[in-house]
Symmetry: C2
Subunit: 177 residues, 2 copies
């Protein structure tokens, strides 16, 4: 794997822009992966992330049971894979094998890192109070991996298979973190 | 105002891609506005949105007290205004006046719509259980306004005044909502 560890304090710079993610779980039989657009940062450091899953998602019960996942940031070139992951359930299919994704062992959690993604975050569930009512898990990022200089082109889902690519960069003077 | 009402069922298509928002509150003395990147959809319909605010944000106490806000989606041409809103506090400044934003009366809430933004959502707080621990409010969108054909270029904050613009659009066949 050609990714290296980066500072947990910088995780928000990856997730705050709202890219679609691939959420991977270890699972009982085999690892699984789902497309996730419903996520937000909750705290800078330690980085906390709210993830909203549907109760009918196969990953919902895996995340409930395992309490661990990885959040992986796909570059725009993986758009077909993202759509494929979003359109199939892990109940019926080994999505890693079917869609050519490579699971790599993580350092701190049982869920796999997805090698093809530009960045991968190892996460543990730390807050379940809104899981029953809203499907909202808060996870803590415990280790962060990134390919040097990536991601530069992220995917943002606008519904029904329409994506926008965020690529053009602006840099303004700002005191905002 | 040249915006028209659109279907609540389509709200997620605006927020799911993760654009930076301008959150406006009515306030006791005057309306206020803050830049917000920490938001995610929680439910399609009625549309529920989780918004994470810092306890030190002036808007935090306004949202706690009023229980209402608007979420406004700025186009990329408003980037200077977004940064200005993010770098000043409503405690010391009338940000609407200082940054040339036009408040318009909303239909269902006391907080104003921001005329210059491409879309504006009227919201009421419906879940406060994670406010104390995580600054996380869940709001329900009760009315949605959009300028025809907008937004086409949204801003995505990557930390420290760096933004990416999402504009290039891909359309893939997909069964995903």
């Amino acid at each position: 794997m050609d990714k290296t560890i980066f500072e947990l304090a910088q995780v928000y710079q990856l997730l705050e822009p709202g890219p679609v993610l691939l959420l991977a779980t270890a699972g009982r039989r085999r690892p699984n992966v789902m497309a996730l657009s419903w996520q937000t940062m909750v705290e800078f450091e330690p980085p906390l992330v709210a993830c909203v899953l549907g109760r009918s998602d196969y990953s919902f019960e895996a995340l409930q049971r395992d309490g661990e996942c990885t959040l992986n940031v796909p570059g725009a070139e993986l758009v077909d894979t993202v759509v494929a992951c979003g359109n199939h359930s892990g109940r019926d299919l080994d999505k890693f094998a079917a869609f050519g994704l490579t699971p790599r062992p993580a350092a701190m959690v049982a869920a796999p890192l997805i090698d093809e993604c530009d960045a991968s975050l190892e996460c543990r569930v730390v807050e379940r109070d809104l899981v029953e009512r809203h499907g909202l898990f808060i996870v803590e990022v415990v280790r962060a991996w990134r390919r040097a200089g990536q991601p530069q082109r992220t995917l943002h889902h606008c519904g029904h298979g329409t994506f926008r690519i965020a690529s053009e960069t602006l840099q303004l003077p700002s005191a905002m973190r």
